[in-house]
Assembly symmetry: C2
Homo-oligomer: 195 residues x 2
Amino acid sequence: MIDNKALLFINFINKYVDLNEIEEKQILEKAKIRKYLKGQYVVQQGDICKHSGFVISGCTRTFYVDDNGEEHIVMFSIENWWASEIGSFVSQKPSDYNVQCIENTELIQLSFEDQELLFRDIPKLERFFRLILEQAFVASQKRIVSSFSLSAKEQYIQFTKQYPEIEKRIPQYMVASYLGISKEFLSKIKNELKM
Amino acid sequence: MIDNKALLFINFINKYVDLNEIEEKQILEKAKIRKYLKGQYVVQQGDICKHSGFVISGCTRTFYVDDNGEEHIVMFSIENWWASEIGSFVSQKPSDYNVQCIENTELIQLSFEDQELLFRDIPKLERFFRLILEQAFVASQKRIVSSFSLSAKEQYIQFTKQYPEIEKRIPQYMVASYLGISKEFLSKIKNELKM
DNA sequence: TAAATATGTTAATCTAGTTTAACATATTTT
DNA sequence: AAAATATGTTAAACTAGATTAACATATTTA
C-alpha cells in the first residue's frame, strides 16, 4: 500500500532493528494511513482498541476521565511516537482511556490481527516492540518518581526541558492536567518563573 | 547448572510462550541462582545493573533516594516477578534506583551478555519479554492515573485489594513510601478505616 | 466585526496531606 | 531479660496545592 509517508514508520523501526526489504514490504502491505481532524477520537474509553498507531504528523493526548468527571492526561504522542492504547490493544479488552487528536493528525495503523501475523513472520518486530516498551516503561517509572519527589514547580521545569516541542504545541491547561495539578496553580507557577 | 528451583522460572516463561526442551536447556545453562540476605542490595543507585533477576522466593523493593535524602519506593517484587532495574539493565548505564531485599531472597539471574545471546538464539524470549513489559507498562500507567484521581485513602484501599500478599509482608512505612504519602498519614488512614 | 467559545490570570478561601515531636509497641541483639 | 533498634501512633501546627469565582485575552465562527 501507501504513499511514502509510511517510510517514516519503517525508518523508525530500523533505528532499533535491521529489517530486510522483504520484511519492509510485508509491513508496508499491512500498514494503513489514517487521517484524523483535530478533536477526533482514535480510541474512546470503553471501546476496544483495534489498531496500534504510529504518529506521522500531528499530536494526540491519552486521557482518563475519573468518577468525578475529571480528565487526567497520561501521555501526549507526537511525530515518531506511539499513539495507541496499549492496555486495550494487547488485551483486546475495553479501554480505560481516550486517545484524542489535539491537532489534525496522520497515523500509520496496524490492526491487532495483522500485527500478530507480522509478529509471527518477523521475529525482529517482537524485538522492536520489546525495545520500545522498555523505554516506555522506564519513562513511566521515572514519572512516578518525579511526581513523588519533586514539587509542582520542579516537575513543570523538568517537563519543559524534557519535552520542549510538546509544551509549545499544547494548551497550558493540558500541561497542568498531565502534571496532575490545577490550571490555576500552573498559571501561578509560570508567573513566578517569569520574575 | 542448578537444582530444580530454576524450573519455576521456566514454568513462568511457558505461561507466555511455548519453549521446547532444547530452548529450556539453553536457558537453564545460563541461569544462575543467587541468594541474598534480608537487607542486601541487588543493585545500588549509581551501579550498572549487570543481571536481570526473577524472584524464586523472598521480596525486594526498588527505590529512589532523592536530593533531600528521602526514599521513594517504585515497586516491590515477590515470587514470580521481576526484580531487576530494567532502565539500567537495558541501557547498561548507572542505575537511578536501588534494589534491596526486604526478606531473605533467592533470585534466578541472567547476565546482560547471556540474555542477549539467548534473545539471538530464542526469538520466543523476545516475545516473552515483550509481553511482560506490556503488562508492566500498563500497570505503571495505571498507577500514575490512580495517584492523580484518587485520594490517599482510596489509593491505599486499591493497593490492599490489588496486592494483599505484598501488604501483609511489608512494613507499613514502606507501603506509605510506595503510595507517596507520609507514614503518619497512612497510620491515620488505617485508623479511620478500622472504625 | 460582533458574538461566541476556548484559553489564561488573579486573588481569597479552604483542605488534604506534611512536618515535628513525643510516645508506644514489636522485634532483634547482647 | 535488658538494652537497642525498628516499627507504629497520636496530635498540633503548618503548607502546597485545590477550589471558587470573577475577570482578561485569544481564537474561531457567524
